[in-house]
């Protein structure tokens, strides 16, 4: 029976997380070394079903990555909660906190028992200070995401103008997938 030192020395949970991070669109293009650097900066937090992660208007300071469970992004419209998106493992939300610390546009709530990985802006800033490659990749991915938002918003505005209505449009399937 041979002794596999690599399996003995490595943490399977960390490996699983590394694979999950590699599949997150925000971190696309990062190599294993940079993903490892990123991984050790993440906090883990478990939320029971129904718990609010952040509320609309809260100051945004972190980006959240869904490790396990399901998250609803909701926004209050005329006093009623309107679900904007449902996110599962491998997706992320709150990414604009990496750019500025403006108030959250929508709220996030755990639909079931959920585990999130949290990347705080200060940690991210610390990380990109010494890792230019990481900064370039993440910023490029963020820009792509923002460009997607702008395009979809333009498309929705054009549709609204054509219909002559001013109602809150549902996010498209493509947008949900992107998130």
């Amino acid at each position: 029976m041979s002794w596999h030192w690599r399996e003995w020395a490595t943490d399977p949970e960390q490996l699983r997380r590394l694979r999950l991070l590699a599949s997150v669109p925000l971190f696309a293009g990062l190599n294993r070394r940079l993903l490892g650097r990123l991984l050790i900066k993440l906090f883990e937090k478990r939320y029971p079903a129904g718990e609010t992660i952040f509320r609309e208007g809260d100051p945004g300071k972190a980006v959240f990555i869904v490790l396990e469970g399901k998250i609803s992004i909701i926004r209050a419209v005329d006093g009623a909660e309107k679900p904007l998106a449902v996110l599962g493992p491998g997706t992320y939300f709150g990414e604009l906190a990496l750019i500025d610390d403006q108030p959250r546009f929508a709220a996030a709530r755990a639909d079931e028992d959920t585990t999130l990985l949290i990347l705080y802006k200060s940690h991210f800033d610390d990380l990109i200070e010494g890792q230019k490659a990481l900064a370039v990749h993440v910023m490029e991915n963020l820009l792509k995401t923002l460009a997607g938002y702008v395009r979809s918003e333009q498309a929705r505005n054009a549709l609204r103008a054509a219909k002559g209505t001013v109602t809150l449009a549902e996010p498209t399937a493509a947008e949900r997938t992107r998130r």
Partner: protein, 375 residues
């Protein structure tokens, strides 16, 4: 038919109201502060262990980034550091010990006497009126001998503390090992207990404390090593005796802001004057230490401690004085990062509160409707 006796009024149970959270927090903080004051020795030990764990933590994280198991990473780093420390000690300690033995031997005292005599004569030749102030060389030597005897008499007391020092030297790495090994578990426990509403601010506060304290302590250690190396090399080039010991002393003294560099420079200048029996090397040593300080301020500090400390000079000096008064030398070392961390945390909490308060205020509707779900 007899009338039934009136039922005795049932006393309504007095309802217990819990005290307001502010009072509970105040009491808890007061108890912790009192315990810390009573067990200040243990607090100092824990502070040192935590500081060591902070200094070492980046190495552990480097290994963890490679998906190596946490416990294995911590153990590997500690064993490696122990080996490095043992090898360095085996190489440096005999030389350092020889320097200390020479410094504390009788020949050094004779050398001091001779040097002081010569300096004494130089001063009196240049400025004869100072003879009345300085007195005769014989009386000065008597005074010096008395001081030496007094200090030698204190040596047994000093040695009695040696056991405590050794215990602390052994305990600090052991404590720091367990702190680092269990840090993830402790952090996870804390994260799971935190209310979800406050998680972002709590994480922000934790990050800020970790960033400031970690960067400051790691920077301080690197700065001390850099200063010690430059000072040792400079003193060796100037031909001053005991360059290794004096360099190490300069590096360690540099940890204390303002006071440390002045203290080490003065000690080295005195030793150089005694060695060369002249005032001439004073200028060279002063220039060397000014050069080191210049390098420290312009290059070393910006690369090490750098942007982690943004304290107003008055606050910095006040924190040094209070830290020194409460916990001595260690208090002076840890006062600056603690006060800086407190300052940043307060700023962060006030910012959080201000933003929350601002959000409750009625806001003007944006001119163009924003209808994305970006959050």
């Amino acid at each position: 038919m007899s009338a039934e006796p009136a039922a005795a009024p049932v006393p309504t149970p007095t309802r217990w109201f819990p005290p307001p959270p502010a009072i509970v927090w105040a009491i808890a903080i007061a108890i912790v502060a009192a315990l810390a004051y009573i067990a200040s020795d243990v607090v100092v030990l824990v502070i040192f262990s935590a500081a060591l764990a902070y200094v070492i933590s980046p190495l552990v994280r480097r290994l963890e980034a490679l998906a190596i198991r946490h416990n294995l990473a911590v153990t590997t780093v500690y064993v490696s550091l122990f080996v490095v420390f043992a090898v360095t000690a085996a190489l440096v300690v005999p030389r350092l010990r020889a320097e200390i033995v020479t410094l504390s031997s009788g020949t050094f005292k004779q050398q001091v006497d001779q040097s002081l005599d010569k300096l004494h004569r130089e001063i009196i030749e240049e400025y004869p009126p100072l003879q009345q102030v300085l007195g005769d060389p014989e009386t000065r030597n008597e005074r010096l001998s008395t001081v030496f005897q007094q200090q030698t008499a204190n040596l047994p007391n000093l040695l009695s503390h040696a056991v405590e020092i050794v215990i602390v030297i052994v305990l600090i790495p052991v404590f720091s090992y367990f702190l680092l090994r269990d840090s993830r578990r402790l952090l996870q426990l804390l994260m799971d207990r935190l209310p979800a509403d406050e998680i972002e601010t709590s994480v922000a506060v934790w990050c800020e404390i970790e960033r400031i304290a970690g960067r400051y302590l790691r920077g301080l250690a690197l700065e001390a090593i850099a200063i010690a190396t430059i000072a040792s090399t400079g003193l060796w080039l100037l031909g001053v005796n005991y360059p290794l010991f004096l360099g190490a002393f300069s590096g360690m003294a540099n940890v204390i802001p303002y006071v440390g560099p002045f203290l080490s420079g003065t000690v080295v200048a005195m030793i150089a004057m005694i060695q060369f029996q002249s005032f001439a090397p004073l200028v060279k040593v002063m220039l060397l230490y000014l050069g080191i300080k210049f390098c420290d301020l312009t290059i070393i500090q910006t690369m090490t401690v750098g942007r982690s400390v943004h304290l107003h000079p008055i606050l910095l000096v006040a924190s040094l004085l209070i830290g020194g008064h409460a916990f001595g030398l260690i208090g002076m070392v840890v006062a600056v990062p603690i006060v800086t961390a407190l300052q940043e945390v307060t700023r962060l909490l006030l910012d959080h509160r201000r933003r929350k308060a601002g959000i409750r205020m009625p806001r003007r509707a944006p001119s163009t409707p924003i209808q994305t779900y970006v959050c």
